[in-house]
């Protein structure tokens, strides 16, 4: 069922959530909700025999085929994918690292716009997510709730009257829901206020994670804010808890940006221009440096300090310059040092093309 062509198509395009639209898109990259569900008649994954996993995968494959969520879903069996392809799906936020690195029968179903993905045999039997561009939690919830109902009409979920949806880890029991909003907060990082923001979020039991979720570092000044509690509150209440705090953080970030513009305009403009200059001219560059510089460029575009590049391209570059994407886009496996050269070449090509004259170094 795996189709290499489909995966290559995926590589060249970018998900709907990267288009840079939606409310508050200068600061809010995406809104995401994931639901954890298990099938009542199988043991959880940690106690599931290989046959159990195979059976779950088959059962869900049949279920997915009937879903037809905004057209037919793409379906990938992870065991049949190469390492670089699994990594590619991780970089696109379509599967977790855990699913990529696990063993045994496991799969993912994805819609063509990459707003929906359903992981099969991750920590729970089912982990589904909906991802939209900008701050848009209500429509994300309507979207995923509809799909959850569709799946539930075909399978029997493990559900307890008092405890709700049963999950492999008690930290997810109840709604099984994680609501998260990905924010770009460079000015709070520059003005060293970010830790203060995190501490106050932790006090109201919200979690802060990096670009790739649990345990990942905050690359490119991206932070995900999400609920920690999943039991005892309704889905709407959990959405409200996260949804209410996001505008406050957006406001802090805007204030920090205003402060930088007013108090150290030259320094800020210099920082942004240098970042843009390096990305357009470097001959070899690491993924970390790229993320760091792109973050400055992204803020620069949003503040009107850079005019000749658009946000969707910058968003896309954050993903396309990561190792698996780069190797797929430039056509083959590469050693780290070659990868850094290819990355620099790719950045020069895309960033110098944008202003129309193709001349490197123009500023």
């Amino acid at each position: 069922m795996v189709d290499a062509v489909e995966l290559d198509d995926l590589t060249k395009n970018s998900g709907e959530w990267l288009r840079g639209g939606g409310p508050e898109a200068d600061i809010v990259i995406s809104s995401r909700i994931r639901l954890a569900r298990n099938l009542a008649e199988f043991p959880f994954i940690s106690r599931a025999a290989p046959q159990d996993r195979t059976q779950i995968e088959k059962l869900m494959r049949g279920c997915v085929a009937e879903l037809k969520e905004s057209g037919e879903l793409l379906y990938f069996e992870l065991e049949q994918l190469e390492g670089v392809d699994r990594q590619l799906l991780v970089e696109r936020h379509l599967i977790s690292r855990e699913l990529a690195e696990a063993q045994g029968a496991r799969a993912v179903a994805i819609d063509h716009r990459e707003t929906f993905s359903l992981m099969i045999n991750e920590e729970d039997h089912l982990r589904m997510q909906v991802l939209h561009s900008g701050l848009d939690l209500q429509s994300v919830w309507e979207h995923i709730n509809r799909i959850d109902d569709l799946i539930e009409s075909r399978v029997t979920y493990a559900f307890h009257e008092r405890l709700g949806y049963l999950t492999a880890c008690p930290t997810n029991v109840g709604t099984g829901m994680r609501v998260s909003v990905m924010l770009h907060l460079p000015a709070l990082v520059i003005t060293r206020q970010i830790d203060k923001v995190f501490r106050s979020l932790q006090k109201i039991s919200l979690a802060v994670r990096g670009l790739y979720g649990e345990g990942s570092q905050a690359m490119g000044d991206f932070y995900q804010i999400s609920n920690q509690i999943t039991l005892g509150r309704s889905e709407e209440e959990l959405i409200k808890q996260v949804g209410d705090i996001v505008p406050v953080i957006i406001d802090y970030e805007r204030q920090a940006r205003d402060f930088l513009i007013k108090e150290s305009h030259e320094n800020l403009h210099d920082r942004v221009s240098r970042a843009y200059g390096i990305l357009r001219t470097a001959q070899t560059i690491t993924s970390e440096e790229t993320m760091h510089l792109l973050s400055s460029v992204r803020m620069g575009v949003n503040l009107g300090l850079i005019h000749d590049v658009q946000i969707p391209l910058v968003n896309e570059l954050f993903i396309h310059t990561q190792p698996a994407h780069l190797q797929k886009l430039t056509g083959g496996p590469l050693e780290t040092s070659d990868r850094n050269i290819e990355r620099a070449r790719y950045l020069r090509r895309l960033l110098n093309k944008e202003d129309g004259d193709g001349g490197a170094g123009k500023n």
Partner: protein, 172 residues
């Protein structure tokens, strides 16, 4: 196994699930008491699951429960999937939906500490969850079949296979 703090045997095995990697602690009763009292005094959110468990155990110790009795609680296993409560504590993942029923006593304080609530307030599946007995029976039968195969008891395994097929066919 010896206690990490002294030479007495370790009777408490604690797995901290906060932070990046699960951290295992093996302690004697005295040091466990000390450790658990400490971590249960930490501010909310910092201790997570271990603190919940700690609080629960400290309460248990206060009513003068012996280490042996606690160890016994730890060795309790789920009749459906076979996981012991100790195994759950070591890996942080439950074995099957029935664990929430059979480890109710141990899990309840844990869940209350993580979420601050003990009752679901969100959506429910539209279809009423009926026949849950049948489903747990299926999990148990499949496990028994697997064990029978491992022990080369093929006649037993084929009986179990027939029973699984019958139970599956009965499904609503």
């Amino acid at each position: 196994m010896k206690c990490q703090q002294c030479d007495k045997p370790a009777t408490f095995h604690i797995t901290e699930l906060t932070g990046g990697k699960p951290q295992e602690l093996h302690l004697c009763e005295d040091h466990a008491r000390q450790y658990l009292t400490q971590s249960s005094n930490e501010p909310a959110g910092a201790g997570g699951m271990a603190a919940a468990l700690a609080q629960h155990m400290v309460q248990k110790m206060q009513v003068s429960q012996t280490a042996e009795e606690l160890a016994e609680l730890d060795q309790q296993s789920c009749p459906v999937c076979g996981i012991t409560f100790y195994e759950f504590r070591s890996q942080g993942r439950l074995g099957c939906p029935h664990d929430y029923v059979c480890f109710k006593q141990q899990l309840e304080p844990l869940i209350l500490n993580i979420h601050g609530e003990a009752e679901h307030a969100g959506k429910s599946p539209r279809r009423c969850p009926t026949g849950s007995e049948k489903r747990t029976q299926l999990i148990r039968l499949r496990r028994e079949m697997k064990e029978a195969i491992a022990e080369e008891l093929y006649e037993r395994a084929s009986q179990l296979r027939d029973q699984i097929q019958r139970t599956e066919a009965e499904r609503p």
